[in-house]
Amino acid sequence: MANIFAFVESRGSELRKVGLEATTAARLLADASGGGEVHALVIGPPGIAAKADQIGQHGADVVIVVEHAGLGNYNPEVATATAVERVKAGGYRAAVFSTSAQGRDLSPRVAARLGVSIVTDVLSFEVEGEAIVVRHPLNIGKVIATLAISGTPAVIAMRPNVISPARNAKAGRVETAQPAIDPASARVVVRETRQGSGGKLDLAEAPVVIAGGRGLKAAENFKLVEDLATAFGNAAVGATRAVTDDGWRPHSDQIGQTGRLVSPELYIAVGISGAVQHLAGMRISKTIVAVNKDKDAPIFKLADYGIVGDVFEIIPALTEAVREAKKQH
């Protein structure tokens, strides 16, 4: 039996979905190593304590709440020092983080201070005696590595969307704590967090990804893809390299480049034939739908469901049908 630590990511006074995923991942790890406790740490401005119930329901036995007026923005040095202090005191078998912009910043710092290694972008894990064995994508998803972590605690950062945050009836015990260092003493200061326009979902985290390719013929036709994403309500828009190279979409929308692997519940490829690079970037999606005029396009070999035909006719019809289906819920 071993206790597991989870870091619950927040932004301002809101929890992020990846934070609940990390909590549920820690729950699964605790259960797999004989049913220990999950201790989840959340750090934020006054008011974040109101989220403790939600963290408990996602698998935490103890929710450690650190509130401070100076923590409205992410403070890497406070988060690192506070997480390190808790992990050292708790003697955990493993510490679970998220592979997000914040988690990629925080988790290696914590591991280095603990004197242990770390694996980010973890796809799945198992407990094997003394080792925790994880799967991790290499070479932009073209190779999958199985890695054994021997250090204690094993520090891992989960890839977004690979764990479904599970709810149970339990509410965790709440403990309040102070930041391990005074936020005003931090050397690195996040002066401002600028929210992007319209709360755009991130490709790596969105449950649904709609991606467009050359088959859309022109930049303005991406509106079809955006309309379909809006109909889903929980979708992000992605693109192929051909499209971003042509400047139809920003490079940050490209799927298949370094660090741009997607693994949503549902991936819809619109007018994408399926270059090797692109297929590597999306093949671990749970369900893949392809719409393309060429029935021999490589994308159809990967797609669970395909429709052959004109995207300009099919996508508006699909958008309408998704809108109807969502209404009935």
Partner: protein, 250 residues
Amino acid sequence: MKIAVCIKRVPDMDVRFKIGPDNTSLDEVGLKFDLNDFDAWAVEAALQLKEKNPGSEVTAISLGPDSVQETIRKALSMGVDRGIHLKADKVPFDGYSIARALSEELKAGAYDLILFGKISPDSSNGVVGPMTAELLGLPCVTAISSLSIEGGKGTAKRELEGAQEIVDFPLPAVLTVDEGLNTARYPSLKGIMAAKKKPLDVKAAALPAPQISVRKLELPAERKAGRIVGEGAAAVPELIKLLQTEAKVL
């Protein structure tokens, strides 16, 4: 300013990879190697700072077998002043091990700024920069997409999911570079000639025993053969039904 850039030699990703006979390493036959893109942007950032601050010196450091000297030479040909090769039989997956070896070398260098690419496409772990910063006890900002440095202080922008952070930090500091910071220059012919005469020190890498071992590498599982639902907009209702009842994603 004294600037160090830590760089990595990585394979070109635009190929179908093969797993070696030991099942724990890649078959490197036929792979082309080059400087990691993110590291090239870090080198470019260092060179731009050097151009703004006359008298600056830029050092490129790479850990690995002798082949990494080719990558260091590329950085030298872009305009880096000197190179350090931390010699190791191979580059371990364990980023902590690498960070320990790099910090051993960096701690004596009195650098004002230490730059890394934010991630390399091969190991796709992205941890060596921030780990090295912690081992050196230095302030660190990761994944920056803009940077200004003046009077011993810096400001950087980080891209988050659907948001940006504006971050202030003092020097000396460790930064990791994201896409969008700059466009890396190509080595000029003059630069390539000059690089041959620039100093490149070779030292043994002080790599501690790794805490992560590679059990196996494999190619991603083939997906089950899918099916064509139909042709044209007439197939949409059937697709919706499958997404609701079979895939259960709608």
